[in-house]
Each structure stands twice: as C-alpha cells, then as structure tokens.
C-alpha cells in the first residue's frame, strides 16, 4: 500500500513541480523607448529619413552637409544596438552586412569600415569626442554631451519610431 502511494505521489510531485516552474510568469524584457541614433553635438542635422540613415550605415553617404566625414561607430555583433541597426535599418543579416562592408572597401569606395565599440559607454564617449561620429545606443543610456537625431521626424519613445 505504502509503495502504491509512493508510485502515485512521486510522479504527481514531479508534475506539480514542472507545472509550477513552467507556469510561473517568465521575466519579460523591459519595454524600452528604442535604439537612439546619437551623433557628435556639432553635427548640424536634427532629423534623418530612415533611407538616409541606411545610406550612411551602408557607406553610400560619407559626408554630413557641412562636409565633415561621417564616422560610424557600431557595437560588436550580438549587441542589441547592432542587431537593430543591421536588421531594421539595412534589412540585412549580420553575414550580409559584413560582406557588404568588405566589398565596399574592396571596391575602393571608402577607406574605412565602421569602427567597433564594445559598450554603450564607449560608444557615447567616442561620439562626444569624434567630429561627425554616429552611433546607436539604447535610448535610456543617452546622457549629456551628445545629440539624439530624429528618424523620420520621431524621437525614441514616440509612436512610430522605427528603431526598436
């Protein structure tokens, strides 16, 4: 009798444990305002169309209207900021984006591919120092000393902002 109870109760306890584990509310990623397009404060541009941003990210547009060269600072692969830039702006996979830039430099269309930054802090620090620099960071991480661009007339957090 005791063994029969054990045969029933042990599986039931395991099932209950599994149910508790799987039915417990999963941690939900915090809702963010999106990825901000951040530039050096001296860049005399407030708004970019998404297509203009794409041309910059792909190296087809290399200069700001003032004549200062655009310096692209991108997080290393896997970072959310880079993933949003590559997938949402360029509509590419990471492999396609990488091949695009190898080809771009090989075609002698530009001497420099995007420079890699390893943290949001590093990206913001470099953007504040390098004239013409542009990077992508989580909107909530943006501090002073840099400028956030509108994309298609919208800032991060506004309805319809495309970089999420």
């Amino acid at each position: 009798m005791r063994n029969t109870h054990r045969l029933v109760l042990v599986p039931l306890a395991l099932l209950l444990g599994l149910a508790v584990a799987f039915l417990r509310p999963m941690p939900v990623a915090a809702q963010t305002a999106g990825i901000a397009v951040v530039v050096h404060p001296d860049v005399a541009v407030d708004n970019l169309a998404l297509t203009e941003l794409r041309r910059m990210l792909l190296g087809d547009r290399e200069f700001w209207p003032s004549g200062v060269r655009v310096t692209l600072l991108l997080r290393a692969p896997i970072a959310t900021e880079r993933d949003v830039a590559v997938r949402s702006v360029c509509e590419m996979t990471e492999a396609q984006f990488r091949q695009h830039w190898i080809a771009k430099v090989f075609r002698a269309e530009t001497p420099n591919s995007p420079k890699i930054v390893y943290s949001a802090e590093m990206a913001l620090d470099q953007v504040s120092r390098v004239p013409g620099a542009l990077t992508f960071v989580e909107a909530s991480a943006v501090g002073k000393g840099v400028k956030v661009l509108k994309i298609d007339g919208r800032l991060p957090g506004q309805a319809g902002y495309p970089l999420k």
Partner: protein
C-alpha cells in the same frame, strides 16, 4: 580610436584567395586543380579627404620555368592603384589605374572571387579578355546626388585607353596620342532598396598591329541589378562599334548576360543556387576582335558559405563557340575566401 578620430595614414590590408578545379570535355583553360589568384587589397586614409587604394594580384604562371629568361612561378600585377581626393559626396576626383567603370560587374567584384556569387566572371568582362577594356589608366571624377531619393551616381573619366594588345590598358603611356574617355551613370532609388540600373559610354582610338589604320571604338552598355540575395539578379548588355579610319562601314559586336540567384532561407541561409546565361556575338570582319571567341553558354551552380569568410562553389557549364561549333561542357569547383 584617438580622441580626435583617425590617425593618418591608417593602412588596412585585406586578402583574397581561391583554389579551383575544372574538368571539361574539351580543354579550354586549366584542367584539374589550379591555384587561383592570391590578391592583396590595401586601403589607407591619408587625411580626412584623401584616400589611397591598391590591389595586387599574384597569378600562377602556366609557362613557369620555360623561355629565356625562365618565366617566374607567379606573375605579380598592380591591378588597381587609386589616389582619391574627396570634397564631399557629390564630388570626388581620383587618379590611377582602375577597373574601367564601363559595366556593373567590373566595378562591383574586382579580383576577389569570394565576393561574387559564381566561380567565373562573365566572359564579356573576364580578366585578360578583349571584349571590354577591363583596365583604365587615367583620372576619374565621380559623385552621388540624392536627386529626390533616386540617388544618382556619376563617373566621368579620361585615360590612355587600350594598349597595342587590346586586352591590356595603356599602363606605360598612350600608344597613339588619342585619349579615351568615358561617362557612366546609375541610380539606386530609395523606393526600391537593392535596385540599381544605369549605363555607360566609352570612346577610344585603337592602334593594333593587325590593322594598317587606327580603329575608332565606341562602347555603349547598360545594366540592371537587384542586389538583395532573395533574389539576386544581374543583367548587362554591351555593344562595341569598331570603325577603321577610312573604312566603308563600321562593325557592331554585342554581348550580354543574365544571372539569377536565390539565397535559400533554410539551412541557416548558407546555400545559394544560381544560373547564368551569357552570349557574345562578334561581327564578321571586325579586325580588332578577330581573336575574340563567340559564346552561347549556360552556367548552373550552387554556392555554400561554409563560414562568413569562406565559400565553396559547384558549377556545371555548357557552351558553344558560335554557329556550327561542337558543344563543350564541364564541371567546376572553387573554394574561395577572404582574410
């Protein structure tokens, strides 16, 4: 990166290489394994507005060790060497040795076989070929204009034109004192991201040993390319008009190719099957193209990207060399990479 941005010069070197295998019914080119080109590409910004590019190739010599003096194992060549001054996106001026901006393929893929989908370039623009001038020594003015989202690109060039061997550019000087010139324009509209189409015009005066008089050369070309990989589509046409000075009538020779590919969404997007049809028609009596073979050929193959920087390509080709010629066919393989 230093606080003010780049330091100068900031030389970067990228390399490309490939190893090939071919087996055809009737030999045309190397059989069995062959070493492809070993290519080094250098890019260096000399200042925020001045940049330098160079492309060096090392090609295995089929006649190595023969002749007097004996031919070396490898032929080294400066494929491109360009110094560019950039005012802004609209105006860039450069000098040097280029791949002639006369069609899409010649300026999109260069010597790195890893960059192109197929094993070989289309024959109309193959390296060492004569149909189109692959190299151009001179100066180029180029730029891109937004044009309300059409993104109009232009190039205009003045150079030496072809050498006495018309497969070669006039590297050491113009052989006849008559400069070649070209204009090229294409658009990449925002409303169709991935689409590019445009055309070119090229004019030169040829001086070749097999003709007693100089030959005027006019080339017109057009291209359309959809560069996204799902699908990828490239089509190009070029027409070459030759008219010997004092001759009664000019000749027109034509070439085109159509290539389609599709990166399969399955299997981690590593497989990309493709097909290309190409055609070259040489006009009877065209003295300058007397040794250029005609072509009707199909290529079917698949590219497998083993890593982000190395790929394997497998191809079957079948072709004829003009009306009444026997059909040739063969299998081809290439492993190519960048480093």
């Amino acid at each position: 990166m230093p606080p003010g941005g780049d330091t100068y010069p900031n030389l970067k070197i990228v390399g490309f290489g490939d190893v090939d295998y071919s087996d055809t019914k009737r030999p045309e080119g190397p059989q069995g394994f062959s070493e492809g080109q070993f290519v080094l590409h250098m890019a260096s910004a000399l200042s925020p507005r001045v940049t330098f590019f160079a492309e060096l190739s090392f090609t295995a010599e089929p006649n190595a060790g023969t002749g007097t003096p004996p031919a070396p194992s490898y032929a080294a060549a400066v494929e491109r060497m360009i110094l560019r001054f950039e005012k802004n996106d609209q105006l860039k001026v450069s000098f040097g040795r280029y791949h002639t901006p006369i069609n899409y393929w010649n300026t999109a893929f260069h010597h790195g076989q890893w960059l192109q989908t197929t094993i070989e370039r289309p024959e109309m623009i193959e390296f060492g070929g004569k149909f189109l001038p692959v190299h151009f020594v001179g100066a180029l003015v180029e730029g891109a204009i937004p044009a309300s989202g059409w993104n109009l690109n232009y190039q205009a060039g003045l150079g030496n034109g072809r050498g006495s061997d018309i497969a070669l550019g006039g590297d050491a000087g113009d052989i006849n004192g008559n400069r070649a010139w070209l204009v090229n324009s294409f658009v990449k509209p925002d409303w169709a991201y991935g689409l590019e189409f445009g055309g070119s015009y090229y004019k030169d005066l040829l001086t070749i040993p097999t003709s007693v008089s100089n030959i005027g050369e006019h080339i017109v070309s057009a291209h359309v390319a959809w560069t996204r990989e799902d699908p990828e589509f490239i089509a190009e046409y070029a027409g070459v008009r030759h008219e010997a000075v004092g001759a009664a009538a000019p000749t027109w020779s034509h070439a085109y190719y159509v290539q389609g590919a599709y990166r399969l969404p399955q299997f981690n997007r590593l497989w990309k099957p493709y097909y290309r049809f190409e055609h070259i028609d040489i006009a009877a009596g065209d003295v300058a193209f007397a040794t250029v073979p005609m072509l009707d050929g199909s290529t079917v193959g698949v590219r497998y990207d083993a890593t982000q920087l190395a790929a394997l390509k497998f191809e079957y080709r079948t072709w004829t060399r003009g009306p009444g010629t026997a059909r040739n066919y063969g299998g081809f393989f290439q492993v190519c990479f960048t480093f």
